[in-house]
Amino acid sequence: MNATRVLVIEDDPNIVDLVRSNLTVRGFEVDVSTDGEDAADRVRTLQPEICLLDLMLPRRDGFEILRELRQEFAIGLIVVSARANEADKVRALNLGADDYLTKPFGIEELLARMTATLRRTRVHDEEIDIQQIDVGNIHIDLESQSVHRSGERVQLTPTEFSLLRYLALNKGVLLSYDALLREVWGRGYENSREYVRVYVGRLRAKLEDSDGPSLIVTEPRAGYRLVDPEST
């Protein structure tokens, strides 16, 4: 397999150095943009698998970059920011970030989060018996990692797809927050229930009809289950 390509959007030279040194030595291919102005172009040409994005850049609002990248690309997006409050975190997740890492951080944590996000972007590498799942008007192709709703292609981010895949493979089963966090996000995310809430919300927005029956049912205080709307 080729080296994993990472785009780092970060303006502080020492942090760039930190990330570059650590990733390069571990076999990643690292590209850097210090202002994010050309973020979309860089992703288009370099086609990185994952992007680390700082929110506070001198010339552009990081949220704006996040929105722009997520509109076009299904790559792994991790926000790395000094903004430590919950509101910023939820906002970033809502805009489609796969993860949110608060500065300061240790290298271990950065690597762990990148691994977890990459795992989600590469679900098709795993061995699965089932190739296709249909739930109501939703058709999920696990192999090609594509989702269609009433025949129309729906764009999902890696995390969204990973969550849907797990829900669909366990159709009808109540999945607890803990189970979802463990299976979809991986170790180290046990206390991040907001990730589940945000991503279930994003899936619902993309897959459910606003006035139709629920595809993903909330079991209060317990978790979520995927149900076939036509069978209820």
């Binding site: 942090i15 930190l18 650590n22 571990r26 506070m56 000094a82 409050n85 500065k103 300061p104 951080f105």
Partner: protein, 782 residues
Amino acid sequence: MLSLREVSKRYGSILALQDVTLDIKPGEIVALVGENGAGKSTLVRCIAGDKIPEHGDISIAGLPLGTTPRGVINQGVSVVWQDLALCENLDVTSNLFLGREIAVVGGGLRRAAMRSEAAQLFASLGAMVPDLERPIERLSGGQRQMVAIARAMLDVPRVLILDEPTAALGIAERQTILETIEGLRAQGVAILLVSHQLDDVFEVADRVAVLRQGRLVGNVARSQTHPDDIVALITGVDVETTAGQQLRRLHSLAEQLTDAEQSSVLPLTVTSLSNALNIGRLGIFLVDKRDGESTLRQSASLNLPLKVQHAVRELSGDANGGFLRDSVTSGRLTIVERLQDLVEDSVASAAMDSGLVGAWASPIQGRTETLALIVGFTDVRAQLHPDQVQLLELFSTMAAAAIERSQLVEELRERNQSLEGLHDVLETLAGPALLVGGMSTALDALRHGAGCAAAALYTTDSDGTFVPKAQSIAPGHEARHEANIDLEMARIAGGHQETPATVVSQFAWSQGDAVLICIWDEDTAPPAETRPLIEGAANSFRLALERELAAEAQQQAAAIHRSREIERELTRRFGHELRTPLTAIQGFASTMLQPDVVWPDSEKERFLEIIEAEAGRMGRLVARLFDDSALGSGTLRLDHNYCDLVAVIEQAVSIVGHHDALDLDLPSDLTIWADKDRVEQIVVNLVGNAVQHNPDGTRIAISLARDDDPNLLCLEIADNGVGLPAHLVSYLNGHARRRDDEHGLGTRLVRGFVAAHGGTLDVTSTNNGTRIVVRLPIEPQP
């Protein structure tokens, strides 16, 4: 009369009026209120034929209104514009008939006719204009307004629109104009009063129409609304239901009652209560007790006929019966459905003579007796809704406390004139402000006033044990009297009687029990009149204790609030400014600790260098944050020394970097008395800003020289960049409206450091560049 149906008007893309529907009847004043830009003037101009509405109909007496100004006037709609449109140099008469010099031949005659018509007109308006021959420029604002109204009335309009008629007037003239407007209403004119002055609106208008963003958001009868509600409508703040609002209003009123002088507040109370209860005729009568006889004294009233007021005043102590007296005696709400059912009741007869039908009296109860009556009269059979009764009860409780307090003060004053000093202290103690020196001062005054040797105040702690709160002991015998007080307190705690040389007043307050104790020398018996004095004083102390408690709670809340704010502020700043260097430090440290990679020594060394540099950066940042708080709290201390300013600037410039963009013009040396680190910081921040906030290629010139004033040096930093935001320029120049903490740390430090050095900043900025001149004193300041 005037009728608007779904009138809309658009200016380009802006919808100035949207579906406004409004009616004004003959003999009615409708006030039109709203913020600037809400559409008031557009509406008036549409009516006046000055603007044509997009759609909707405007009609007068059922006929569509014309679309030209003259046509509209001919149909009986006149407008008095805010600018009045009077000719300054012409006299009153000429202004009135300006543009109507009708075909009367022979100047003299015509003039005389005009003058007499003018005089008649002013008389009919009830207005005094000093001299019809006087030029407008010599008239007062109110007189000009009157002339403008008179000119409009020459057209005998059926609808008169007044645009801010009292905006520029003093109190007396404003009153005159409002009376004139009311006079016009009485003549049957339909009046639209456009006004910002809610006072005016509530004084004269029958209805209030509220415009917000071009929409009519309210059209309510004046009597059924309150200025607060109108303000809510104007500003678009959510209007609450009236019940809750009235409760709050009464609460705040009660607070005012306890805080302000009674006489000034009771009239306000009556007005508000009248609004809250929706009862038009109200009075508050205080019960005066003298020689065992009680009389009623009117304190404030609203719309009570004089006859009734007299009758109440005439009520003497021995008059038997009477519904007011019954209510005083029984302490219960008395409702007289029909006054005619009462016999030999002078107040009732007076009220019936004035055409009133029913009445009710609600007592305000003190701890032991009725303090006052709230009395309402009705034009129909009297009835009180349960809600109204509840409001009355609530208000009565709150008013009682206020009246009681003032009576207490009054009684104390009467009891002993020679104790003025004590009285003042006690009054202050019980009053709204916390007494400086607190209870001890009050006890000193009490000790002097009562002539005792020692006075002390004890309160119970959480276990119910009495602990001293404050005391005052005559000098010279402290130890003995302290022992006496202890003994006496032990007796009281044991349930014993007080000793002969002691007067003790025990009272309860919200946090437990309290004792006020006064001790005389063993051989002096307390004079007989001191007991009531001390009991009165105890009452003041009770109020003072409660007040102190409230103040403490308030201070605590404020302190908590403030400390939370500081915490938030620190978190925010630390968050943003410290996390970046911390990331590099933690990141590189953890990098070296990772077991999976073996770094070459050269790399390790580089990491350590970065860690060291970032730690230094963090150290400087922390120092700057400390400086910033020190500036904020006024505790910054400069570390003054003679220093080579040229070297300082060169150092600062090397910190900023970007040497290619800088043009330096520095003398060979210039020594000043200053704190070199802080001066360096000034230069780093100013030059750093110029570099960071301007596009690449911007030139930054830094020059240093002595100023024209030989005691000052002049450091100039000029760039050809994009300029600074106006608020920053004004902040740096020292006259900013924004609070300090709304500016960045660097900017605050520059301003603070320059000021701390006794220097000045002079900033000019256009979009072609910025020039900042820092002037600093060269020698130590005296």
